[in-house]
Symmetry: C2
Subunit: 221 residues, 2 copies
Amino acid sequence: MEATTGARVPPKLTGRGQATRARILEHAADLIYAKGVHATNNEQLRRAAGVSGSQLNHYFPTKESLVLAVIAWQAERVLAFHRSERFTGFDSLDGFREWADYYTAYERAYHEGCSLGSLASEIIKTDLDVHEELAGAFDQWRDIFRDGLLQMQRLGRLNADADPARLTNLLLSAYQGGMLLAQIARDVTPLKDALSAAIDYLQTFTTSHETDAPQATGPFQ
Amino acid sequence: MEATTGARVPPKLTGRGQATRARILEHAADLIYAKGVHATNNEQLRRAAGVSGSQLNHYFPTKESLVLAVIAWQAERVLAFHRSERFTGFDSLDGFREWADYYTAYERAYHEGCSLGSLASEIIKTDLDVHEELAGAFDQWRDIFRDGLLQMQRLGRLNADADPARLTNLLLSAYQGGMLLAQIARDVTPLKDALSAAIDYLQTFTTSHETDAPQATGPFQ
């Protein structure tokens, strides 16, 4: 991702150029998130971001280049959130519970769904050649959980026979699927159930050392 | 669902009328599934189904009425599949394993994703007033799993302290999320991992009676 991020913000852009590019991107991300890739057009984007057609074309000459940049934008937000200190690198069961609590602590938390999963489920159907970028973003998300579980094993908090990659796929699937079901039902319960059950399954692999983990703190605890 | 199905196929239609309606619906379902709701227009649908504009308008006067019928169409297929004999009403662990095997036994099984989940993730973003129908379809799907788990409890195969509704939300979320992740990664592993882990979690609630369950049979065993 680092490599593609470098490619995405051409170093030749001035400070003002970078700000304009960022403004276009922010509005594109919002529009695509709210309406979908197909329902978003240049006209809407120009108006929302307050830029001319030639400016838009300068920064994003094709729809593909714009969607690629939006994927990177949403991915960076999701990944930065998961790397934030509150989850302590997901090196304990509490980190995962804190994460689940964030999305289920209040009824409307599911309201907008997962920005990246929602984007992914749309893009899968388009002809846009952006699959590699999308898969890369999810690989990095997966790495955050898997690295946390590997660290739990190193710290003796997780049994050696637990499979971090497999548990990661359950946790991420429970989140993505639970978010979709919660949006369909307009009720947080499916997401709450799926995440708590997935984490309870993870707990069946923890050792007694897990209880030595520091308690997570924060407003969502 | 029974009630709305009745409303969807007006009893006044002749045999030929019903066949035409079904043909339009089948092509609409295919188009929407392949391209999405936004990218599907009347012109494409008329050509695919070989009907005139006035015929199309006669059966489905609005986009909403068409999308409602497509939801019902996809829901009926998914529900009929889950109600088929091979899963024996999901009254044993084997029924769930048979179900997971169906989607993960070969590499490309995830290729097209879940027809209903994929439709749902699109519709959530539209202004179409079809949320109730969509939520109803998923409620029925949930009922199939939950009824199976309740039956397992009655048969003494599942502990009394297991929560069928919560386990159902995990299973269905693991399926929907795993399907999305498999499509993104173009690799069946995330789905395989998520389903097998969710079912292994279910197994932690089973009793020794579960081993008395008849073995599921079939080509995917």
